[in-house]
């Protein structure tokens, strides 16, 4: 039997509550949590160290926002899967994030089920 290594998950959000909620909610999925960051700059540093496969990304953050961060992470690892999780529910924000390389979009607030479904869909889309 082939053992498939779990994919590595990084969480980026300036809200401590959100980071912990996502960390708790993802536990039923096939992801191994490797760390979280509170802004885009921290995320880029953590990404270099941990090389995650999947990232959940907030948009509105201090230092460096999620849109710019998506672009930098994709430049470092084009195959990374990025789920943007934001309260900015307008289409323009979602389209901009996708243009920079994000793979999915989930609006805040969300239920545990909605997060699990969004991550599953992200992984299915990548054939994982």
């Amino acid at each position: 039997m082939n053992a498939v290594a779990p994919l590595k998950l990084m969480i980026v959000d300036d809200s401590n509550i959100m980071r912990r909620k996502i960390e708790r909610s993802h536990q039923c999925s096939r992801l191994n949590f490797v760390g979280s960051a509170g802004n885009g700059k921290q995320a880029v540093e953590l990404f270099r160290r941990t090389e995650p496969d999947v990232v959940t990304m907030d948009i509105t953050m201090p230092e460096m926002d999620g849109i710019e961060c998506v672009e930098q992470l994709v430049a470092m690892k084009p195959e990374v899967l990025i789920l943007v999780i934001s309260a900015l529910a307008d289409k323009a924000t979602a389209i901009e994030a996708m243009k920079r390389g994000a793979n999915g979009f989930l609006c805040k607030p969300f239920t545990d089920r909605q997060l699990t479904d969004a991550l599953d869909e992200l992984l299915r889309g990548a054939g994982s």
Binding site: S15, N16, K21, T60, L88, A89, D90, K108, P109
Partner: protein, 150 residues
């Protein structure tokens, strides 16, 4: 130009949607009232967004520590620190901001939420303005959504 019912509903819906989805428990909306003179009250924790463009002013959500404690518990959080209380009202304000951006587009320029802790000495609304106060009732607690736009 007076504030429209639709505009008010957008802010109210942003607030109630947070309770319904994040806490999985609906909040009810009390009877709104107008504060013509003086400043509307703020409670222990307040998340504020500033609006410019078609309208100018502030919108804020203000709640007590006991209400936020129960809300944090509903979110599965065990850490009831001051930082998490601030974080939570900021998230509610963020949700209100997101709804407004979705519904009003670039007619409104909306700031990143800021958090005010403490109910004394802070004037959140500009002087000489009128504010709509909308009670947000949840479980046995009552928060307020305050909309102060010219």
């Amino acid at each position: 130009m007076t504030m429209t019912k639709v505009e008010l509903e957008t802010f109210v819906e942003g607030t109630t949607h947070y309770f319904q989805t994040a806490a999985n428990q609906a909040a009810s909306v009390g009877s709104p009232y107008l504060v013509n003179e003086g400043l509307p009250n703020i409670q222990e924790y307040t998340g504020v967004i500033t609006i410019a463009g078609k309208r100018k002013g502030v919108v804020y959500f203000t709640a007590s520590r006991p209400m936020l404690t129960v809300l944090l518990m509903r979110l599965g959080e065990t850490d009831m620190t001051h930082e998490n209380m601030c974080d939570l009202v900021g998230e509610v304000a963020n949700q209100i901001s997101g709804n407004a951006r979705r519904d009003f587009g670039n007619q409104f320029m909306i700031s990143v939420p800021r958090v005010v802790a403490g109910s004394q000495g802070e004037h959140v609304t500009p002087p000489n303005t009128r504010s709509f106060v909308i009670p947000i009732n949840w479980r046995s607690h009552s928060a307020q959504l305050v909309v102060c736009l010219d």
